[in-house]
């Protein structure tokens, strides 16, 4: 019996590893090789390397959020943003990704979707569109939404606007 349970746990662990692939890999792989898209990726290996960084000057909420992440990716384009947004949203498996927040202003939209087991969020997917572009952003790891929410509050909002513009560069 013990042997059966061990084998079952190993298989489940393998299945979980399999599930670590992010939404961008699973649904939007073709965008990664598309020259119209800008891709920014940070691998699990790089997240491990970040442990060597001097963390003294980093706010604790940010530190705790980053150290629990496994991978991160952004895919964005300025080409036909609304078309890509529609196509991308349709491609996401809604059984697996739960819609958390949707904000719609005229034609501009952003949605947060999560993949979770119980109360643990494994993946946060942001999909956003405005006239300037379409963005898919994906964080994989152990995600604490409250901590992420607090990050912006720690900064001044002026700085946020600059960041938003910087993303499009």
């Amino acid at each position: 019996m013990k042997r059966i349970i061990t084998i079952a746990l190993m298989v489940i662990a393998f299945a979980n590893l399999h599930a670590q692939d992010d939404a961008i890999s699973r649904f939007f792989g073709k965008y990664l090789d598309d020259s119209r898209f800008t891709v920014v990726s940070v691998s699990p290996r790089m997240f491990r390397l970040m442990s060597k960084i001097q963390w003294d000057s980093i706010p604790s909420d940010l530190k705790q959020t980053v150290t629990r992440l496994q991978s991160f990716r952004i895919v964005s384009t300025e080409t036909t943003p609304y078309t890509f947004y529609k196509e991308a949203y349709a491609a996401i498996d809604k059984k697996e990704y739960e819609e958390l927040i949707t904000v719609r202003e005229n034609k501009d939209d952003f949605r947060f979707m999560i993949r979770a087991t119980g109360n643990t969020i494994h993946e946060l997917l942001m999909i956003a569109v405005d006239k300037d572009g379409f963005t898919l952003m994906c964080f994989v790891g152990d995600i604490d939404l409250d901590k992420i929410s607090r990050l912006a509050a720690d900064l001044d909002i002026k700085g946020m606007e600059n960041l938003k513009n910087a993303k499009r560069k």
Partner: protein, 150 residues
């Protein structure tokens, strides 16, 4: 005769105290088997006759085998364990079979993809993640505000 009687009484008393040897018990049994027992001791004749009769009772053939059979634990097929193992197997199989497979024109394979790093420097990577987290944070707060205002 009197000597025999007193010896027997002494032996009997020893017998009741359970201190007699097998030899002494044999002497007692033989004495009470004889009809010429001392009249004072005759009430014991029936008792010793009864002991002798009972000693002759033998167990029915195969008793030892029957006892051994009834006390030896029999290994029955454990349906509980079998059911538990089967349930786990079904669970594991369903993990694979029921996991939604990607379908449709723009979906990619589910094979685990290696993420190619955009940055070689962890500091730069952290800066990018930090920017992205702040954008996400800002949008999350914006979304929450809208939900509250509704």
């Amino acid at each position: 005769m009197e000597k025999a009687k007193s010896t027997m009484i002494a032996l009997l008393e020893k017998y009741w105290r359970a201190e007699t040897t097998l030899e002494e018990e044999k002497i007692l049994a033989e004495y009470f088997r004889e009809p010429s027992t001392d009249p004072d001791l005759q009430p014991y004749n029936a008792l010793f006759a009864y002991f002798e009769e009972e000693a002759g009772v033998l167990p029915s053939p195969g008793l030892e085998a029957r006892i051994l059979h009834s006390i030896t634990p029999v290994r029955h097929f454990d349906w509980g364990m079998f059911s538990a193992a089967a349930a786990i197997l079904v669970l594991v199989a369903s993990l694979f079979l029921l996991t939604p497979k990607p379908a449709g024109p723009i979906q990619n394979s589910t094979a685990v993809t290696r993420i190619t790093d955009t940055y070689d420097d962890p500091d730069q990577a952290l800066a990018a993640v930090r920017h992205a987290l702040l954008i996400a944070s800002n949008h999350l707060n914006e979304g929450r505000k809208q939900i509250i205002n509704k």
